[in-house]
C-alpha cells in the first residue's frame, strides 16, 4: 500500500529525514513514535505530497508521489499537526468546502459529510463557527476533514493532541474502528497511545528508524531480562532465601509499595524479581516456594514500558555517536 524507499529530506545541512525505508500493507495501523523534531512530521508531509523529498521514492497505492501527485492525493486523508481549518467558517461549510476540494460527487457529499460528523461526534456543532470551538473540537473537525472523500490511507499527525482524556479514549476507539478497512499512519510522542491503537510501531529518532516491531514484541524484545512482581505469603527473610535459591533468579527484593498487609493479604508482601529469560524460572519458583510453605498469591510480568524502551533506544544512539 505504502512503500518508502531510501527517503531523505535535508533542510540545508540538517537532515530531517535520513534514509528511511518502510513498507506498510493494506489495513495496517502503524504508529510513528519519536521525540519532537525526530522527523515524523517531515516524513508525513512528504508522504502526503506537501513537501518534496531530497532523495528517495514514496509510492502510495502504486503511484509515485512525485510523478502522479494527484492520484496519490486523491487516496490520502491527512490531518497535519495543526488542523488545517478556516476559523471563519462553520463546521458544515468547512466540510462542504473540503469535499469539493477532494472532488466528492455532489450527490454523495451531503450524506458523507453527515456520516463523518456523526462518526467524530460533531453533528451538534455543525452550525457553529470553528473559531468558537474548543481545541479538542477543532481537532475533531480536522480529523473529520481527513475522512472526507473516504480515502484508503489516513495520515494522522498527533491526532489526540489537545483533547481531554475522555475524548482521547473516544478518538482512539474511532481510529481503531477506521483502521478496519483503511491503512492508517499516525504519529505521536505519547507512548501509551501507540500501544493502545497501533499494530506496528516505528520508532523514529534523528531522522532514522531506530526500531520497528509490534508493541508487545518491542517491550518484550528489549526487556533484556524477565521482570516480575510476585505477592508471596510468609516471613520476608525466608521467602527471599527461597526465591534466591531458585536457579535463574537474578535478584529479588521487597517492593516499597507492597508492604505487609497490602491489599488485605495477611502477611504477604510484594517482591520485585528479576530473572533470566527462561519461562521455566516461574515453575521452579512455584515448586520451591510451595515446598517451603510460602504460597504465591499473585505473579505478574512487568514489561518494560515503551517509555523505558524509548529512552534505552534513543540514549543508546546518542551515546554511540558521542563515542565515535
Amino acid at each position: 500500500m505504502i512503500e518508502i524507499e531510501h527517503l531523505s529530506k535535508h533542510y540545508g545541512k540538517i537532515k530531517a529525514v535520513d534514509d528511511i525505508s518502510l513498507k506498510i500493507g493494506k489495513g495496517e495501523i502503524v504508529g510513528f513514535l519519536g521525540p519532537n523534531g525526530a522527523g515524523k512530521t517531515t516524513t508525513m508531509n512528504i508522504l502526503t505530497g506537501y513537501l518534496s523529498s531530497t532523495e528517495g521514492r514514496v509510492r502510495v497505492c502504486g503511484y509515485d508521489v512525485m510523478d502522479r501527485p494527484l492520484e496519490v492525493k486523491r487516496r490520502i486523508g491527512y490531518l497535519p499537526e495543526t488542523p488545517p481549518i478556516y476559523r471563519d467558517m462553520t463546521v458544515e461549510d468547512y466540510l462542504r468546502f473540503v469535499s469539493e476540494l477532494k472532488k466528492v460527487p455532489r450527490n454523495k457529499a451531503r450524506a458523507q459529510i453527515g456520516d463523518i460528523m456523526e462518526l467524530v461526534r460533531i453533528t451538534d456543532h455543525r452550525k457553529r463557527l470553528i473559531n468558537n470551538l474548543s481545541k479538542g473540537y477543532r481537532q475533531r473537525v480536522g480529523l473529520a476533514q481527513s475522512l472526507v472523500g473516504n480515502p484508503e490511507v489516513l495520515v494522522l499527525d498527533e491526532p489526540t493532541v489537545g483533547m481531554d482524556p475522555i475524548q482521547i479514549i473516544e478518538i482512539r476507539k474511532l481510529i481503531r474502528e477506521l483502521g478496519k478497512d483503511r491503512t492508517i499512519i499516525l504519529s505521536t510522542h505519547i507512548l501509551p497511545e501507540v500501544s493502545a491503537v497501533c499494530e506496528r510501531i516505528i520508532i523514529i529518532h534523528k531522522g532514522r528508524i531506530a526500531a520497528e516491531d509490534k508493541p508487545a514484541n518491542l517491550s518484550g524484545g528489549y526487556r533484556g531480562a524477565g521482570r516480575f512482581v510476585a505477592r508471596i505469603e510468609g516471613p520476608a527473610e525466608s521467602v527471599l532465601r527461597t526465591v534466591k535459591s531458585v536457579g535463574g533468579v537474578k535478584s529479588a527484593e521487597p517492593t516499597p509499595a507492597g508492604a505487609v498487609g497490602a491489599g488485605g493479604d495477611g502477611d504477604a508482601r510484594d517482591y520485585a524479581l528479576e530473572t533470566e529469560k527462561d519461562p521455566d524460572v516461574r515453575r521452579r519458583m512455584f515448586y520451591a516456594l510451595a515446598k517451603e510453605g510460602h504460597p504465591i498469591l499473585e505473579l505478574r510480568v512487568v514489561d518494560l514500558s515503551l517509555e523505558e524502551i524509548f529512552l534505552q533506544l534513543t540514549t543508546k544512539e546518542t551515546l554511540g555517536k558521542e563515542a565515535v
Binding site: 533542510y11 502526503t48 506537501y50 486523491r74 497535519p80 488545517p84 473540503v98 469539493e100
Partner: protein
C-alpha cells in the same frame, strides 16, 4: 479552481475586509465625483487619476491576506495535499480578488449614470478609462498576490505591496523629470503611465499585452514561490 474561488469570495465577505475596503473606496471615489458635480462637467480624467492613485494603496490591502493567511493558519497544507494543481489554487485566488475589485469599480457606475442623465454623454475616453483602470488594478492585484505569497505576515505583505506600488507609480513622475533613455525605461515600468493612454481613449493592443504579460508573470511567480517552498 472554482472551489478555491468560491471559498475566497466567501472569505472576503465573512470578514469585514471586503466591506471596509469597498466602503473606503466608494467614499473617496464619490468625494472626487463631487468636483464634477460642483463644476457641472462630464470630464472624468481627474476623478479617475485620483482613483488610480487610491487603488495603488487600497488594492494591496485586499491582496495582503490572499496567500499569507493560508500559510499562517496552516490551511495551505490542506490545499496542497488536495487533488488540485497549484496553479489552479493560485489562479482561483487571483480571480476572486479580481472579482472584488470589479465589484468596487462597478460601484462608480452610478456616477456615470448621474453624468449622463444631466446631459453629458458617455465618451470613448470614459470607457477607455474604465478598461484601463481595470487592467491597471488587475496588475496591482497580481503584484500584491505575489508579495503575499512571500510571507506569512499580512501586515508585511500589505506594507511591502504598498511601497512597491508607490515606487512603481513614482517612476512615471521621475521619468518626466529625468528624460533620455532612463526616462523611457522608467516610463515603461510605471504601471500608471500605461493607464494614461487609456484615458485618452486609445485602445492599443501593446498596452493590453503589456498588462496581460505582467499579470501572467506575477501570478506565475506566486505559483513558483509556493512550489519552491516545497523543495527547500
Amino acid at each position: 479552481m472554482r472551489t478555491i474561488y468560491k471559498r475566497e469570495m466567501k472569505a472576503y465577505f465573512y470578514t469585514p475586509l471586503a466591506y471596509v475596503v469597498m466602503a473606503v473606496f466608494i467614499y473617496f471615489a464619490t468625494m472626487n465625483f463631487r468636483t464634477n458635480l460642483y463644476a457641472q462637467h462630464g470630464e472624468f480624467r481627474f476623478m479617475f487619476a485620483e482613483i488610480a492613485t487610491l487603488l495603488l494603496i487600497i488594492l494591496p490591502i485586499l491582496t495582503m491576506r490572499v496567500m499569507s493567511e493560508e500559510r499562517k493558519n496552516n490551511t495551505e497544507v490542506l490545499l496542497i495535499t488536495s487533488p488540485i494543481r497549484l496553479w489552479q489554487m493560485v489562479l482561483g485566488k487571483y480571480l476572486a480578488v479580481l472579482t472584488i475589485f470589479a465589484m468596487m469599480m462597478a460601484c462608480t457606475i452610478p456616477h456615470q449614470v448621474v453624468a449622463i442623465v444631466f446631459g453629458s454623454p458617455l465618451t470613448m475616453a470614459t470607457v477607455g478609462m474604465y478598461v484601463g483602470i481595470l487592467f491597471m488594478g488587475a496588475l496591482v492585484l497580481a503584484i500584491g498576490l505575489f508579495i503575499s505569497s512571500l510571507t506569512d505576515n499580512q501586515v508585511i505583505a500589505a506594507v511591502v505591496s504598498i511601497i512597491t506600488m508607490v515606487v512603481l507609480w513614482s517612476f512615471g513622475t521621475a521619468a518626466q523629470l529625468i528624460g533620455g533613455f532612463v526616462s523611457k525605461v522608467l516610463q515603461w515600468l510605471s504601471i500608471v503611465s500605461r493607464y494614461d493612454n487609456f484615458t485618452k481613449g486609445i485602445f492599443s493592443i501593446t498596452h493590453i499585452v503589456y498588462y496581460l504579460t505582467f499579470i501572467a508573470f506575477f501570478v506565475f511567480l506566486a505559483v513558483q514561490v509556493v512550489e519552491k517552498r516545497r523543495w527547500s
